[in-house]
Each structure stands twice: as C-alpha cells, then as structure tokens.
C-alpha cells in the first residue's frame, strides 16, 4: 500500500552514504512487510538495495548471506548446494507465509529483523548458529550471535541507526545433519511452530524452537536427550518464554505441537 507519510527515500550507494538516524526512519529491505501495513509514524525509508551487496558469498570458512539476499536467491542457491543444510534452508523458505512471489522480494535480513515469531529466517539463522554482522552508525562493526538478536515480537537488540549487514554461517554448520518440522493451522500456512534440530559433532542435539514462542529459543543438549529429558526441557523453556497466542494457533495447541515435533526431531536424528 502507499505509505503516504513517507517524504523522503535515502538511497545510499556505499556505507558512508547511510544517513544518520532520525526519528521516523525505517530500513527498507524487500519492503514486503513495510508496505503491507500502514506506517503512520514513518517519514523516511533508507533503501539498502543501492549498496549493491552480493547476495551470497562463499568463503573458505563460512557462507556470508547479505541481509538483502532475497529468499528466492537463497532458495535457488540451496537447491544447487552440496551441503546437508540445504534441505533445512529450503524448508525454512517454504515456511514463509508468503508465496514464491514474496520470496522474489523479501530479504533474509528483513525477515529476521522484523522479528515476528513465525519468521522462518529467524529459525534458520538460529539453527545454523549464524553470526550477525552489524554496521554501527559510528562506522564500526559488531558481531552478535543470531540467537541473541530477537528480544520479543517485532523487537530486536539493534539500536537506532544500526544496520544488519550479513549473516555468517560456519562451513561445519552447513555440513551438519538437521531435522525440521513445521506446524500450521492450514496447508502451506503460517508457522504456528517451526523447529529445527541439529545433530552435534559430539552426538548431542541443538534444538531451535520458533513460532510457538515469542522469540527463538535454543536448547543445547551435550548428549542425545532421552524423550522425557527433551520433553521436560522444551516444556520448561516454553513455559518460561510463554507459549505464543495469536490468530495462527492457540497456545495450548502450539505447546502440544512443539513437544510433538521436538520428539519427532529427536527420533529422526537419533537414527
């Protein structure tokens, strides 16, 4: 929809062109959320597209996903990727409520920074132990584990003027074994629970829980957990964070599905 209060678009070509933050600024990635709701308090959009970031950089040690990489580009990359995490990546893209047409515009960074509970890029980033590369307004960079980025629905630790530049994902994480499960009220629908588990090198389980809770939760088990141990841990973590309640699923069902899917992930990775 038209954002009629916007009077200005900043279109920086490089980092020095990023304008100092002012009240009413919003970072424009793909725009698929910004333009989907009235934004009466916004005055200026800072468009990242002109920065020309390469969407995906394959380093020796890590994969670098630009914040402006679209879900379409990510999914296409994963479709041809030799690593085991490709299925996880593709499943997370598919878990976006929007169709493949939205993938053509929506960005990895935008989905993550929007910080909605159902954001599949949050599940992906946390499951892959991604590190967020953040540009600070003073010209410095800082690094932050993706698991620490999201505080609450639509709230992150990013300070005004900070820009998520990229996600860095270690090669070892791309080659690990994952299991993914999603629950939704409808076929191809919005996630009510989206879980990903990784079988760690030491034989443990790294479990990421999203969508059924207000912010991504991460449970790390040094050894493969027994079903009751897993259940108790998921139950306790979910109860502490609060099972999420919105039109996409009742909290008691989300709790139940989270426990069920966690157990399915445990069982799949245990074989």
């Amino acid at each position: 929809m038209d954002l009629n209060t916007i009077t200005d678009i900043a279109r920086p070509r490089d980092r020095s062109g990023l304008p100092p933050f002012r009240e009413g600024d919003a970072i424009l990635g793909g725009g698929t959320w910004l333009f989907s709701e009235p934004q009466r308090t916004l005055r200026r959009l800072v468009d990242l597209a002109g920065l020309g970031w390469p969407p995906i950089e394959n380093g020796a040690q890590e994969l670098r996903l630009s914040a402006t990489c679209t879900l379409a580009a990510l999914d296409a990359h994963a479709a041809d990727a030799p690593w085991a995490a490709a299925a996880l990546v593709r499943r997370c893209c598919r878990s976006l409520w929007g169709s493949f047409k939205i993938w053509n515009m929506a960005t990895v960074g935008g989905n993550l920074c929007l910080a909605l509970p159902a954001a599949p890029m949050a599940a992906l980033a946390v499951a892959l132990d991604a590190v967020c590369e953040i540009w600070c307004p003073d010209g410095t960079d800082r690094l932050l584990p993706a698991s620490g980025l999201i505080l609450a629905p639509q709230r992150t630790v990013l300070a005004p003027g900070e820009v998520l530049r990229a996600l860095r994902i270690g090669r070892d994480r791309l080659h690990a074994r994952y299991a993914v499960r999603q629950a939704s009220l409808t076929e191809e629908g919005r996630s009510a629970a989206l879980l990903a588990g990784r079988c760690t090198e030491a034989g443990g389980l790294a479990l990421t829980i999203t969508a059924s809770v207000p912010r991504p939760l991460r449970l790390d088990f040094a050894d493969a957990p027994a079903p009751d141990v897993l259940r108790a841990a998921v139950e306790a973590a979910g109860a502490a964070a609060g099972w999420y309640d919105d039109p996409h699923g009742a909290p008691d069902w989300r709790r139940h599905m989270t426990l069920r899917l966690a157990e399915q992930i445990r069982a799949e990775l245990a074989t």
Binding site: D2, N4, I9, S36, R40, L45, K101, I102, M105, W253
Partner: protein, 919 residues
C-alpha cells in the same frame, strides 16, 4: 522516472512512499487490482523483468528502468496468452476481480510449479470459484490434447474476454472525472461512546483539504444501510454520521481532499472528545437485566422490537402442539450450536464515485448489488427527488450479500453535493473487516423428538442472533433462518423462539444463505444425531421425514404462502449422495492415512432447502430492443457480480426469440436505463430476473411478428425468427427492416418455488494434531433445468468453498474492546487452493414450473449444508460433536483430547450426541 509497461515506454512520477500498484493505476493501467493492498491476495501481481511480484508491496521507485508486465501485456499481437485462453475455456473466474493477478501468476509458473499448484498459488485468493476450474485451466497447459470442458449448453460469460484481458471495467476502473477528490473516514476507537466535541479546524485548514463532515453536517434522519424491496424490513437506526458511536470502526468524520494522502494527513489532525459509554460485547450480555440500551429510539418509528432490552426483532411461534409431540417421542435430543463472525471477503472493496452535474443530477458509480434500491435510499437520506439521483455499476468484484447495503455511497454523495466536485471513496481491506457487515453470529438451540419408527414428532428451535451495532438485515435474516430450515421437515409440531439483539460490535448483515446456513449447521447435526440414536442411516431418516410434493411447508406464521413445489428433486439429491458415500466408504485410503493408526475416518451428510427468492416480492425489469442495425440490445436492471446471471439472460433471450446470443448486447445496472429493479440478491439473478427477460423476449417477438404480418400479410404466428431474419417460410425479412422496436419485461418474484442441496463428505481426522483431510466431497443440487451447467457448477463449487471456509478456517476475532483483532487476509484465513478438495457436483433432473425455461435459483444455497455435513462426518469418525465453527486444527485437537472418546472402529461408530440442552 521511465520504465516499460506492457511493452510500451511509460513515465511515472511516483511519490516517495508510493507502491507500484497505485502508480500504475493512476496512469490508467487498470488491469492491476487492489484486493487487500497488503500483499496477501495477489490481485495486483505483475511481472517485474519477468519475475512475478505483488505490486502493492513494491516501492514504485524500484521499477525505474525496468520492464513491468500486467495482465494486459500477456497477449501477443492480439492473441491471448495460453493461460488466458485456458481460463476462458474453463470458466476459471466468476467476478473476475482476482483474475488479472491469478493469470499473471499462472503465466509465470514453470511445469514443476504447476505440478504443486497449491503451493504456487498460495499467494492468490479467489473468493468465487473454489479454485476447481482454475486448477483445471492451469493443468490444461500441460495437456494440450485434452477435450474442451464446455458442453453446448454452457454459453461462456460474455464478459469473459474482457475479464481475462484485464479490460473489464470495475467500479474504479473508469477514467477519473476531472477534479476528482478523495474521501477518507475517521473511525471510532471505542465500542460505545457519545461524541462530546469534534475539533476539525486543523484538519479543515490542512493542505489540499476541501471538506470535513461530522455529525453536525449529517441529515437528522434515521435509515438502515440494508436495502430491501420492502423498505420496512430493516429498522431505521442509522445516521449518516452519528453523535453516538456503537462499535469500534464506526465512522465519525469524513475528510475530503485533493489526494488520499492529504486526506489521511488531515484526518490525523481531528480531535474527538468522547464520553465513554458501557460496551456490550455479546448478545447474552445485551439481554441481561440492566444492560445499557444501545439504541434508545422510538420502537414504532424505528421498527425496533424492544429498544430498552436491545432486542431488534423476534420470531416466536408454535404450530401444532410441541409438548404433545415431545410426549409422544421415544427419544428426545437436545443440543446447542454456535456460528462465528465471518467476512464476505469479496475482493473488490466497497467503493464509489459521486458527482453532481450542472442540472443538479447526482450520479453515483458504485460497487453494489442494488443500484436501484441505493438510488431510492440516497434520494430519501439526502432529501432529493428520485429523478435527481442516478446510480450505476461497473462490473462488480464479488458481493455474496455484502453489497446489499448502502455503506459508502451516502457519505460520498453528501460531500459531492456540498462541493459540487466528484468525490471518490474506497474502503481499505481493514475497513472491510471493521466496518462492512459480517455474517450474523448465532447461538442455536435445537430439541427434536422422534418415534422409534423414525418419525419426527416435535421440533423446537431457539436462536439468538447478534446483529452488532446496527440492525441492518437483522430481523429479515432471523425470519429466513427460522423458516426453510425447519420447513424442510414434515413434522406437525414446531416451535420457534428466536431473537436478534444489538451489541456494540461491528454490524452483521446479509451473507450468502441469509441466516439459513447458521441454523442448518445446528439442525442438520441434530437430525444426524437423532438418526444415529435410532440406529438409522441419517440419509434414510431424512428420506422419511423431509417434505414431499403436496406436503405443506410449515415453519411459523411469519412465513408467506406463495411457495410451491414448482419442481422437486430432493429425492434424487439424497439418493445420489447416499450412493456416492457408499462408494466412497469402499475406496482405499491414501497410504499415509492407511499406515498411520491414529487417523479416524468417517462420512457424513446434510441437507438444505431454500425458497427460490426472498419473500414480499422481488421486482425485476428488463428492456429488449431491436436496433437499427438488426441487432438486439438487452437492458437488465439486476447487477452482475460474478453470479453469471448475464450469461443466463443472454441464453433465455436468445432461446425465446430464436436468435443467437452473439446477436444480443447486454447493458445493465444503471438507474438511468430502467425505472426499477430490486437487484441482485436472494438468488434471483436467474429465477426472477430471468423471467423478466423471458417476458421481454416474448413480447418483442410478438411485436416482430405483428409488424411483419402488418407489412406483408399472413397471421403473425406464421412468422419465425431465425438468426437475423424473420421468415414465414416464403418471405424473408431482415431484422433491420423492422427496427427499431422494443419491449419491456417484468417479474414480480411470486410465486416462488423451492431448491434443494445435499452435501456429503468422507474425511479423515488426525486427533494428535487436529488435522482434517477431506477424502471425498460430493454435492447434489436441485436447480431445476440447468440452463448453463458449467456456470451452475461454478456457483455450487464456489458456495461449497465458502462453506468449507466457514467450517474449517474463518473467524473474525474480536478483542476485549470489541475491535477486530485480525483485519487482514494474513490473519483471517480465506481458503486458498491448497486448502480445498475437489467437489463432485450432481444436478437433479427436474424442470420447474415457475422459473424461466424450467430453471430454479442456485447461488446462495450450496453453502448451507456444508458445515453440518462436515461436522457429521467428524462425528462419524470420532464420536465427538463439533458444535461451533470453525473447526481449526487447534480446536479439533483440543476437543478430541478433552472428550477422550473411545477410539472409533473405523467409520462405523454410532454414538449419541451428549451435548447439553438448548439455551
């Protein structure tokens, strides 16, 4: 900035925050539609350098130097794109408003995406078709040798080529009149409040603002937004702008400015001081002693049954002796049911352009099902002579009853009259949820008594209907809800105790089925429960108890007695569904269900009867003209909003005259063309308006023959029309020699007949997750002689899809303040292609004595049996009664867990409903 649109260079000057959709539309690229403006519905889909995107989400500036393809750019050298042709061939649209975006999306799919169409089209909503023909059309792209789906009776819709080319003119697709201004509405944040003071000075002084209207500017006159042939059917309880607000989202002020942006900016400057009044958020609360009276109005003048008690209308009656009937019964069953608040979700939002010419003629182009009734309403509310008001429609992008109201025309017209400038208003999708009427939520209590031999002895129906803040359609819906639902059963003792009450929540209104669907949801479950308790097959039980030709159709004394059995196909419908379900029970289960012991499988059915038209008359007017060029022009009063009535009018006129449909042009829905027409609602497009067309065609044919006989001798009835020539076997007269001629046709909407619908499901349900999988969906309809099978099947499939939306997904959630919690398609789930099964449609072989060429109506009613049939199948599978819609996975899971039923042995459990007695 420069770009290419549909292959041609274009220059746009977008505003900084403008999306591509509005930038394209402002430059006349009207093939791009607004359905939600939020990226959810896909109606605005375009290709950007060949890649499909939602143009409502794309910042317009990003299209600079790029190539944009809209639906209009899909053609090559005047030849339709294969997907456009496939949509035409398969009738893959009804209102057609979603079609441009659907086509652009479908055209972009590769073969792999076409194979997984549910996923590929999850970003496209069609509210009309149920997606079946869309899936067929897309599949046909990979089956070039497949036979055409069209039979010779299924004339394609005349607007089809324009629809698939993105050239059909919807309400806001006409060229903008010079000096067009834009209106936005300020809406109430409170469920119930008195406006103490409105300070609009800053808004009036804001840039570009021409007018701010508040309750001080509104006529001091009460009316109803609901439109009926009989004015008194809804209470006069609404002011154009009121000094009391009765729901969150009620309009408080209207701002008119040069642009929407300026109007929005000014709206934010209006300061309103409210005196908060106590909210009443449920119909139960509305009836409590001491509950605040929401409309303290004169009961007789406003036609409100009991304003002090918040009761808008009641239906209370008893026929026979219900107490004796229950005493005679061997079993008595009682249960209570609830239906939810639901949005029509037609894709074209409410919109209108009002302008006044130099002679003071007010013209309103509006998205309405009722142009003539809206003309009457505008004349009355704005105190204008009716010859000074003209209302017309373009093509209307869906309605389903939701546009049988005057919801934006009045305020736009008031502004246009004040300013003498054209004024446009267009609802946002959020406004649709917050302020356009929804389906009446109802609480339904049922008691049934039956003898061991399977005969119903007593029926008792209690209904509490929530009309929300205003009574538009409230009483009429209640009458209808309590009429054909119980009228279907041949039971001597019936009692109804029903009331419709005000609450301070968004208003309810007319919705496909007009109340019947809600009551049938309860009644058909209770009928199923009684049959099972008696150990009878529910279909057999219905066969024993439904009315048959000759039986009186009885409900209450409020029912009119102009309904007859013009035809009767219920027996065929029941038989067909029984046979289909028997066969379905023998079908092997899909492997993933057969191999998982948690799944439960069951079958169920439900039945519905509907009168073929609304009571108290429904007037249809038609004028058929022979033009100088020897071609015909048919002027039809009723509106086309995807129901396909235009096609049947052509068929009826052509067949009656003896000419080809292509020789007849249709104009419609314009008060300047005819005197009066009640409009397109109550399933009247074919059955009533079609009669008027038949009448006009007969009269014109008679005139032609008389003229020919007068000119050339012979008896008039020796002359026959054959294509473009009138002939008596010897002489041949070109039609142009007889032109001009014209004849008017009329229909009054009485007598009426009855139509029947029976739906059956076989489904599997998975208690550990609450997932429902529909394995077989079968619908039998008695529509009389089916004039256009493809189109009629489309109406049935579309109605079933909406019924499944009601049964499985859709619910408007209200927050603690009575505001809508989910006013968007991302949180209010309208079925997508991936959500729906294919439905097998059967038509009874009947020929109606009242309708045109033996046809009956078939548009609202396919919805009505669907939720109950699904609930009955769920019971069969699980032994648990699902008494409240929708059955979302979380609710199904919870209810099955709480009920802890004994695991059903396949589909053969015959447990009895243990639900509590009625309200």
């Amino acid at each position: 900035m420069r770009l290419t649109v549909d292959g041609l260079p274009e220059t746009l000057a977008p505003r900084p925050g403008q999306c591509l959709r509005t930038a394209l539309r402002e430059t006349g690229h009207h093939g791009v539609k607004k359905g939600c403006d939020a990226g959810d519905c896909g109606a605005c889909t375009v290709l950007l350098d060949g890649v499909p995107v939602h143009s409502c989400l794309l910042p317009a500036f990003r299209a600079e130097n790029r190539s944009v393809t809209t639906v209009r750019g899909l053609e090559r050298d005047g030849t339709l794109h294969p997907v456009q042709q496939a949509f035409l061939d398969h009738n893959a649209f009804q209102c057609g408003f979603c079609t441009p975006g659907m086509l652009v999306t479908a055209a972009s799919l590769d073969q792999e995406q076409r194979q997984e169409l549910g996923r590929a089209l999850k970003g496209n909503i069609c509210r009309c078709t149920g997606y079946g023909p869309i899936a067929d059309a897309v599949a046909s792209l990979d089956l070039p040798d497949a036979a055409s789906p069209r039979d010779e009776r299924s004339l394609p819709p005349p607007a089809g080529p324009d629809v698939v080319r993105g050239r059909a003119g919807y309400t806001l697709d006409a060229a903008a009149p010079a000096g067009l201004l834009h209106m936005v509405l300020l809406r109430s944040p409170h469920p119930h409040a008195r406006i103490r003071h409105i300070d609009a000075e800053a808004a009036r002084a804001a840039p570009g603002v021409h007018l701010v209207l508040t309750h001080r500017d509104a006529p001091d006159l009460l009316y109803s937004s609901a439109q009926h042939e009989r004015y008194v059917d809804s209470p006069d309880d609404t002011r154009l702008l009121d000094d009391v607000v009765r729901h969150v989202g009620q309009r408080v002020a209207a701002v008119v400015a040069d642009s929407v942006a300026q109007a929005e900016e000014a709206r934010a400057l209006i300061r309103v001081e409210y005196e908060l009044l106590p909210p009443v958020l449920s119909p139960e609360a509305a009836l409590l002693p001491g509950a605040p009276a929401i409309h303290r109005k004169d009961a007789a003048a406003s036609r409100i049954a009991d304003p002090e008690r918040n009761v808008v209308g009641t239906v209370r009656d008893e026929i026979g002796d219900v107490a004796a009937g229950f005493a005679e019964a061997d079993i008595v069953h009682g249960a209570e049911y609830r239906t939810q608040r639901m949005s029509h979700a037609y894709l074209e939002t409410l919109s209108a352009i009002a302008e006044v010419d130099g002679d003071g003629l007010l013209t309103v182009r509006s998205s309405t099902q009722v142009p003539f009734l809206t003309r009457e309403a505008l004349a009355r509310v704005l105190e204008l002579p009716r010859n000074k008001v003209r209302v017309l429609c373009g093509r209307v992008g869906g309605g389903f009853g939701g546009k049988q109201e005057m919801l934006c025309e009045d305020v736009a017209a008031l502004a246009a009259l004040r300013l003498r400038r054209p004024v446009q208003i267009e609802f946002t999708r959020t406004e649709q949820f917050e302020a356009a009427p929804c389906r009446h939520p109802m609480r339904i209590g049922i008691r049934l008594g039956a003898r061991r031999d399977g005969i119903l002895t007593a029926m008792e129906l209690r209904v509490l209907s929530d009309t929300g803040a205003y009574g538009n359609h409230g009483p009429a819906v209640l009458y209808h809800a309590t009429n054909e639902s119980i009228g279907l059963y041949r039971c001597p003792n019936k009692k109804v105790d029903a009331q419709v009450v005000y609450t301070t929540t968004p208003p309810s209104g007319a919705f496909r089925g007009f109340g019947l669907g809600q009551v049938i949801f309860g009644l058909e479950q209770s009928v199923d429960a009684v049959a099972r308790e008696l150990g009878m097959d529910p279909v057999r039980f219905r066969e024993l108890n439904v009315v048959k030709p000759g039986d009186p159709m009885t409900s209450t004394r409020f029912a009119l007695h102009d309904v007859e059995y013009g035809s009767y196909g219920l027996d065929q419908c029941l038989e067909h569904v029984r046979t289909a379900l028997d066969a379905a029970r023998e079908e092997p289960l899909p492997p993933e269900i057969a191999t998982d012991p948690d799944w439960r499988v069951g079958t169920g059915s439900a039945t519905a009867m509907i009168d073929s038209a609304p009571p108290f008359g429904h007037k249809a007017s038609v004028r058929l003209m022979l033009r100088e060029d020897g071609r015909f022009e048919l002027v039809v009063g009723t509106a086309e909003f995807g129901n396909g009535s235009t096609t049947t009018h052509l068929q009826i006129a052509a067949r009656t005259l003896g000419t080809a449909p292509c020789r007849i042009a249709v104009r419609q829905s314009d008060t300047a063309l005819l005197d009066h027409d009640t409009g397109a609602f109550g399933s009247t497009g074919t059955a009533i308006a079609g009669l008027a067309t038949q009448d006009a065609a007969r009269r014109l044919l008679a005139l032609l023959r008389e003229q020919a006989a007068a000119m050339h001798g012979g008896a008039p009835d020796t002359w026959r029309l054959d294509g473009d020539t009138l002939s008596d076997g010897v002489r041949h007269l070109p039609l142009s020699a007889l032109a001009p001629l014209e004849a008017d046709g009329h229909a009054s909407g009485t007598p009426r007949t009855v139509c029947f619908n029976v739906h059956g499901f076989r489904l599997a349900v998975h208690p550990p997750t609450g997932t429902i999988r529909i394995l077989r969906s079968v619908h039998a309809a008695d529509a009389g002689h089916v004039l256009n099978p493809m189109q009629c099947r489309g109406q049935v499939e579309g109605g079933v899809a909406q019924g499944l939306g009601a049964a499985l997904f859709e619910r408007i959630r209200l927050d603690g303040n009575g505001g809508v919690e989910n006013p968007a398609f991302r949180s209010y789930h309208v079925p997508r292609l991936a959500d729906l099964p294919r439905t097998e449609v059967f038509f009874a072989d009947t020929h109606d004595s009242t309708g045109p060429l033996g046809a009956k109506s078939m548009s609202e009613s396919p919805f009505n049996p669907v939720p109950a049939a699904l609930a009955n199948a769920l019971f069969d599978a699980t032994g648990v009664r699902f008494t409240e819609t929708p059955f979302t996975r979380d609710i199904v899971w919870r209810q099955l867990r709480e009920a802890c039923p004994t695991p059903a042995s396949g589909a053969r459990t015959l447990q009895t409903d243990g639900a509590p007695a009625g309200p």
